[in-house]
Assembly symmetry: C2
Homo-oligomer: 313 residues x 2
Amino acid sequence: MTNFADELAARIAKCNNPTVMGLDPKLEYLPPELLEEWKGQAENKQMETGMALFDYNRQLIDAVYDIIPAIKPQFAYYEMYGIHGIAALRKTIQYAHDKGMLVIGDAKRNDIGSTATAYANAIIGETKIINDTTPEMFGCDAITVNGYLGIDGVKPFIDVAKEKGKGIFVLVRTSNPSAGDLQDLKLEDGRYVYEAMADKVEEWGKELIGESGISSLGAVVGATWPEQAKAVRERMPHAFVLVPGYGAQGGSGSDAVASFTSDGKGGIVNASRSLMCAWKKRTDLEPMEFKKATRDEAIRMRNDLQEALKSRK
Amino acid sequence: MTNFADELAARIAKCNNPTVMGLDPKLEYLPPELLEEWKGQAENKQMETGMALFDYNRQLIDAVYDIIPAIKPQFAYYEMYGIHGIAALRKTIQYAHDKGMLVIGDAKRNDIGSTATAYANAIIGETKIINDTTPEMFGCDAITVNGYLGIDGVKPFIDVAKEKGKGIFVLVRTSNPSAGDLQDLKLEDGRYVYEAMADKVEEWGKELIGESGISSLGAVVGATWPEQAKAVRERMPHAFVLVPGYGAQGGSGSDAVASFTSDGKGGIVNASRSLMCAWKKRTDLEPMEFKKATRDEAIRMRNDLQEALKSRK
């Protein structure tokens, strides 16, 4: 039986790079020449749009699959493009798997018991259809989850993760400016709301701890709040931490590794726009050399994180 | 310019029924004869599954569109059936609109600013595609949202709702047994977390108040917690309240109307399984008479809610 945390730790060690590439595509991110190539190639414009988005993702994966261990597609950007956007998401997941990458579905799903089960089945599990077969619909290796509904909104994800060797990342401290509106309210017992969520993560994650000592039930903790990151790491010593907010949102390398364990493990840092739109910052390259721009930025980021982990010791 | 809260209030008044039909389909809910009809009708089994699900939804809508003002499809159940499930969702939304019903997309989406915008565009807004047209992808009239990320996770939904006359329901107190894990933690200032969320809803909703005096930024407050429902209604006098948990989850008619305003308005009560699976409880009907079973249950529920509102005065 596989364990997601162990697999992710192994992939990170192999690449010597705790980066996950966020794939949050917008048409504006694509070089105009690439968009042009797809015009008139499908039976309708929505399908063309979806095909162009997948083509861009595919080439970005080609550019970095040997140096970045995982991708994190953000479901919103595919849903925004409707059915053909969602088809592009499915193809992207499949393609990343073909290239040996892990896939964290950034869906931030949440609901009560039976409905949470449906989301878990959709994204990391399988569903029985009309002929009693049980295909995987999205087939992600892990999913992000919002824990506001408490344990019976999270348990269904744990059950599927356990059965299928998958992973979960529960939102603890998000990277946005107003994260504190709710998350920083102070409780009667002295904890902040996000600390209470971190305590839940540690408690809920106990049954998914792998051989690496890290749990497949992890947490999302933004790079934009390094002080909070250190504090919550102490509350959840076993959680794999997914760190958004590096780069475009302002978090530095040393901010980003603040939630890693003391031996520099148990964390993975996301970058989306800085990798996807790297070509826009390169006056020395043509737009269609976007693969080189993304690979260069991936190497720069890897070195930045390695440096940050070293200087932390 | 339309205002969602006003439209919903008008539809409720016209039907004299504050019910929303939750459409959360599973193959197990369909009469075996209906499933049989769809076997071999499409090019593959996933497509057949999606077509059968839509057919069931369509017939349920036919059964009640003149007495129930709105539907609430729960996205999880369609995502669970993959691309063809999501296609069934889109067709269901379109069909309900054709029949004059409003559609509340129960998606519980949440994310940081730019990604929240993508979700808002997907579900209640529109997206620019390859030929610069801007189709609506799902075209719901309202969406449910999880506010754990604070105002900059909610503001993008407000912006789209304002521009397009759409609505938002923010989770305040959910109907599940462990809702209290996070929502009932007590804050230093004496409020509970769910009360703090209710205060945010009232504050955020100010700019979406319609002619009815009720805001298109509303709240989800479970029927299973009538005491909390009364307390949060006082904190958010302008919110439209969406009430899950009636029927199958144990909430009674009087529990369900606890969050309505004192004049019996500003609320809508969801029932999913009790309406969708009504035929399973009818020994006097054939399974293929499911439309009659659902209509009978819809009338019983309407009368129950009317009674509860009357006896409350």
